[in-house]
């Protein structure tokens, strides 16, 4: 049997167990919550949605995934060890507009239970040790301020030092304007950290999930050796509203989706969530340096 089938079969076993409720991973979901799918408008029981990796059982719409749940989907059970979880944002500009940055931060913490919009750490994916970073859109749209940039830079540095592959799963509205230029400079900082990692011959795979935009897209995610995206994810630099306002035209259907990016040669593959873990394992198997290949080293 081809290795990809083997992974899929293994995957099926792994997640059947979850849907049977033997060890439901996201026990923080309250019982009896119903959600309407924004694509097919069918009503889904949240427990079913979680068991199906937050993919609509009717139409395959991919819902947003909180970082802790994403880590459970991707990493080998019990393998994830968080790094820099204590790192928390400051308010360097004392930013106050219609809503103060301090309030937004409080809201982000309350909504996500996290200190910031990215969770980083070491993990194993099908036995392959990696450094893993997962963004959590619930925290101020996982916009990149100082702390998000710092955690990503540190994740790459850790991987470079330990000669590990990096896997980044993105979802972000872009730069965090409440941190002004501190935020913009994180684009250069994270890109520089990726550059150093790649220059040492070490692998990096990114997964763009819905939505990935702005100063985040235009930095570490698109510098990966292999760029994957989840089906139907919105991906781009400028948001559709601003583009429409600027060019005074309606945007074509399907503009800035994963499939659009694939068609324009900007990403490697669109991978449904159920196959993501096995695809990452397969890719990492190919990209992790080995002596035995006989290639130049």
């Amino acid at each position: 049997m081809p290795i990809s089938d083997w992974f899929s079969a293994r995957e099926a076993r792994r997640y059947t167990r979850v849907s049977e409720g033997a060890s439901a991973p996201a026990s923080d979901v309250p019982d009896g919550v119903w959600i309407k799918c924004e694509t097919c408008h069918k009503t889904i029981y949240e427990g079913d949605l979680v068991a199906n990796m937050r993919v609509c059982p009717s139409c395959g719409h991919h819902f947003d995934v909180p970082a802790p749940q994403r880590i459970e989907m991707i990493a080998d059970e019990g393998s994830f060890l968080e790094t820099d979880g204590h790192l928390a944002p400051a308010d360097p500009l004392s930013f106050v507009a219609a809503k103060s940055y301090a309030e937004s931060l409080e809201g982000g913490r309350a909504k996500s239970g996290l200190n910031e919009g990215v969770v980083t750490g070491t993990a194993a994916i099908d036995g392959i040790p990696v450094v893993l970073g997962v963004m959590d859109f619930r925290f101020i749209g996982a916009s990149m301020g100082s702390v998000v940039g710092e955690k990503i830079a540190r994740a790459f540095e850790l991987a470079t030092e330990r000669r590990l592959p990096v896997v980044m799963i993105t979802a972000s509205g872009g730069a965090r304007m409440q941190e002004g230029m501190f935020s913009l400079m994180q684009m250069a900082k994270t890109s520089a950290a990726v550059q150093r990692h790649l220059a040492r011959g070490l692998p990096y795979v990114s997964v763009l999930s819905n939505p990935t935009y702005g100063g985040v897209t235009a930095s570490f995610p698109v510098l990966a050796d292999v760029i994957l995206a989840e089906p139907g994810a919105s991906i781009g630099f400028t948001g559709p509203r601003i583009i429409e306002q600027t060019i005074r035209q309606k945007l074509p259907k399907g503009f800035q989706t994963s499939e659009f990016m694939l068609e324009h040669g900007l990403i490697d593959e669109v991978v449904p969530r159920g196959e993501l873990r096995s695809r990452l394992a397969l890719l990492l198997n190919y990209l992790t340096p080995r002596v035995s290949d006989g290639g130049a080293s």
């Binding site: 940039g149 550059q195 235009a218 630099f237 324009h264």
Partner: protein, 319 residues
């Protein structure tokens, strides 16, 4: 002369000046009090001019940074470099006139020049897309950065863009990809990089060529994560609140010097660079010359390592 461009905060000053001009046209001999009035008003003008240009707010500076007569990249290139040779194209799609790339000689030193290029009139602005590059502009810049690295030529870049262009084709050709690759490339070139903010520093499109071993800004230039208008439309659902947003974003040269983001501010002539471009060119030439001198003779590994440390140090965290 072309129609005068009056910035919001200059209106009272210009109104008074116009009044004096009108009075001067009248027959002074017919009215002996007229001469005295003109003299009094002229004195008032001096006081008002001083007030108008002394304590400029962030929004006033944004207007100066966008002033149509403000010296542009091409003017700095013409004034400061000899034997300039422009290089064209990204070797893949096209040549983006919103981005200048080329070779030049600065104070006897061979360098690579990069810069956002706004137009000087409607025709050139259309050709240059008002200084907002498409992906091929960043890819051209990146190609020339790599050339600088290969031949050991320092890079001098001039920042003046409202931002990377927000359009359908720009997205199709990978605007985010081009900017990210440019950032990664610039972070690793083994030659000195001196970036100079001369006008608008609009977000990722500015940053793509806008950091290095020295980051210098003109007194009235700005550098921001988002335009004040876009920020206002997100925060207040009203782009007319741009002036408040400009203050919130801490985007002026003096704010950024205080935050440790930039290294140096080049003072401008009273009222802004467009009041005395020749003096402005001299001042910028002096700063760039000093920066290049300080960076010369540093080994390439050390340059790259130090640049990385500079980037790594940017950020603010909770204690």
């Amino acid at each position: 002369m072309a129609r005068r461009h009056v910035m919001e905060f200059e209106r009272p000053l210009f109104a008074l000046e116009d009044k004096v001009v009108a009075l001067k046209r009248m027959d002074v001999s017919a009215d002996p009090e007229l001469a005295a009035e003109i003299e009094a008003l002229s004195a008032q003008i001096e006081v008002l001019r001083d007030q108008t240009y002394r304590d400029l707010g962030p929004w006033d500076r944004v207007q100066i940074a966008r002033h149509p007569s403000r010296p542009k990249t091409e003017h700095y290139i013409a004034a400061l470099f000899d034997d300039v040779l422009e290089l064209h194209g990204d070797r893949s799609y096209g040549d983006d006139e919103a981005m200048f790339a080329g070779l030049g000689t600065f104070q006897g030193r061979r360098v690579v020049i990069l810069g956002h290029r706004k137009g000087t009139d409607t025709k050139s602005n259309i050709r240059r897309n008002f200084g907002s590059p498409h992906p091929e502009g960043f890819r051209k810049a990146m190609r020339i950065m790599q050339m600088a690295d290969k031949f050991g030529l320092p890079i001098v870049s001039f920042l003046d863009t409202a931002g990377a262009f927000p359009g359908i084709e720009a997205e199709e050709r990978g605007q985010a990809w081009a900017i990210a690759e440019s950032l990664a490339t610039l972070s690793a070139v083994g030659v000195p990089v001196v970036a100079v903010g001369i006008g608008e520093g609009g977000s990722g499109g500015a940053l793509a060529i806008g950091f290095g071993d020295r980051l210098i800004m003109l007194e009235n230039s700005y550098y921001s994560v988002i335009s004040p208008e876009a920020c206002a439309s997100i925060l207040y659902r009203d782009s007319a609140q741009a002036s408040s947003a400009a203050a919130c974003l801490k985007m002026t040269a003096s704010d950024l010097l205080g935050m440790g983001i930039i290294d140096e501010i080049v003072p401008e002539p009273v009222g802004g660079a467009h009041h005395d471009p020749a003096a402005m060119f001299v001042a910028v030439g002096t700063s760039v010359g000093r920066a290049l001198l300080e960076l010369s003779g540093i080994h390439r590994e050390e340059l790259v390592a130090t640049r990385y440390e500079r980037l790594r140090a940017v950020g603010a965290y909770a204690p």
